[in-house]
């Protein structure tokens, strides 16, 4: 095992509803690195995101997920979060009755393990909202309730900004965003990224990678990473589609 890795996934197998989706996936992310996992529909992208965060609907049947040296498999989602793992959801859940500000305050207190003074919290929140260009009355709305697609993704980025994880996984964050919203979200992520943090972008399309530049690109097909490379791999996929790789894999 590589001691410098933040996140290290070895031979990961996972099932959803009794069907095997991940079939031996390997990946390592070191601090300061941006990785992109690209794959067609049904390749296991969302399963990977949910399995990393510990969604109980997904069952790990083999392999390991090491985060900062510790095994995550079997750990509750909240414990993973408190250790510094963050997942930006593809489809964030609406929580009517719970305001964004109330939710964020509880989440921040839980992750930092201490009560952040109200005033300090507010100042930090307003600064992060400014960074992500979200309106202040956003904070008083119910979390994701009646939010547009773009607002939901921005709310996810606001949570990312407030929780300051050491490893962030962005699941299809570009889906449903128009180009202006995509740019705003990407600018926010770039501003939050730092040398101690790892970032994993999970996406179907290459367009997000025009704004958040990964050093490593991996192609996920049928539950395995079948190719890894640099940013040029994403361009190749954009030009030729997944078909050529799928064909190459199945005939191999």
């Amino acid at each position: 095992m590589n001691e410098a890795s933040l996140l290290e996934i070895n031979a990961l197998h996972a099932d959803v509803a009794g069907k095997e989706i991940l079939k031996g996936l390997d990946l390592a992310v070191r601090p300061g690195e941006v990785h992109a996992i690209m794959g067609p529909n049904g390749s296991g992208k969302s399963t990977l995101a949910n399995t990393l965060m510990g969604n109980p609907r997904y069952a790990v049947t083999g392999g390991e997920i090491r985060f900062l040296g510790d095994e995550l498999i079997g750990m509750a989602p909240d414990e993973r979060a408190r250790r510094g793992l963050f997942l930006a959801f593809q489809y964030p859940v609406a929580v009517p009755g719970v305001t964004v500000v109330n939710f964020l305050r509880q989440a921040v207190n839980a992750v930092r393990g201490e009560e952040v003074p109200v005033r300090e919290f507010r100042e930090e929140l307003f600064a992060k909202m400014e960074l992500l260009k979200v309106d202040r009355d956003f904070a008083r709305r119910y979390l994701n309730d009646g939010f547009s697609g773009g607002e939901k993704k921005r709310a996810e980025m606001l949570q990312l900004a407030m929780l300051q994880p050491s490893m962030a996984v962005l699941d299809e964050t570009d889906s449903g965003l128009d180009i202006d919203a995509l740019r705003t979200v990407a600018d926010g992520v770039n501003a939050l990224m730092n040398q101690d943090m790892g970032l994993l972008l999970i996406t179907h399309y290459q367009r997000l990678l025009n704004y958040i530049k990964p050093q490593f690109v991996h192609v996920l097909i049928d539950g395995r990473i079948v190719r890894s490379g640099g940013p040029d791999l994403a361009e190749e996929l954009e030009a030729n589609g997944y078909d050529s790789i799928e064909t190459a894999v199945s005939s191999a």
Binding site: D78, P96, G97
Partner: protein, 411 residues
Amino acid sequence: MSVAPSTVASALTPKASRALGDALNDVPTVSAHRTQAAEALNKSAMPSPSHDRPWKYVDPAALELDGFVPSLGTNPSTDNPTTIEGLSVTPFEEAGREGALGRLGKAVAVNSNRISALHYAFLQNGLLVETKPNTEVPEPVRLTREFNTAGALVTPHTLIVAGDNSRLSIIEEYRSCDEPLAALPVVELLVGPGAVVHYTSLHHWGTKTRVFSEQRAITERDSAVRSLSLVTGGLLVKSHIASSLEGRGSSSELYGLSVGASDEHIDFYTLQDHIAEDTRSDLLFKSALGDRSRAVYYGVTKVGLEGRRSDANQENRNLLLSRSAKADSDPVLEILTNDVARVSHGATAGPVDEEELFYIQSRGLTREGAVELLVRGFLGEPLDRSALVESVRQELNAVIEAKLQALGAEA
């Protein structure tokens, strides 16, 4: 005068009604209603679970009203800014011959069935809350009604008459002892043109109290009524809550909230009746149910032939916090015009959503903390929509919190 229920022949006779009227020295309006009701007692039938849809899940026989006796109950206490010019809070006995008391029974009629007949035949603790035109009452008027006589049938009546363009907010709190008791409260809201009335009722009945309460608002032109019903106590609490939007441009917001524990049964029947055109209504009733408690919701949104451009929303949500809790939900639309702005409805019942829990847990909150947050949020929504003044909001939060804590203790 305490009598154990169902051990004696019914004390609720026309003769007993007349005797009560004599003892209370009824003013003419009340006397007329009591006499009419006494005559109706033996003629009117109890609603039937098979024929009267709002009674599908509660057989009126379960109220066992005949085992209770009318008792000269505690007078309601009011904590109100009586010094406000244009506002009066008056017991019926002192309301005199003239004025607003003459509208008694306009919203909830004497002889709709045997239960309303019983209410009027044994009516006590009547309160008239009246605002003169253009009066703005800055603070909520508080009415506290407490009943502690075991075996009693209690019949509080609140008649609210809001003058043209007045603003009035009322909080009415019901309490009773933990001995068997039956309560038939009636609330009538007569909202004058352009007036705005906010009415909040807190049902903290004792553990053996059976309640059938009836509330109906009639809104005149461009007026608005908003009501919140909070049920946190009582063996069986059945509430009928209706708004008749008779005036063009008037609106109704009906909110309800209950937390059920042990074997409590909470039953709501609501009616949003769009009689006039350009009327608007919103409704949100939520129940969180623990232990073996049960909630029933049956809601009707009616848009009449004249109800053009009506805008109506009706929502009922039930959260099951234990495997033995149960909820029935039946929202109904009856629309007679094809020119409505919007009519929507929704109903759900189920346990805390696992995807919601996962989402919240993924932000660092423990499963327990996530459940707590979801339940508080669930119950907070009708409170938010009710836009209560801060002190009342705090009070209601504390009541809900105490009830939720008690749930945890029994579970």
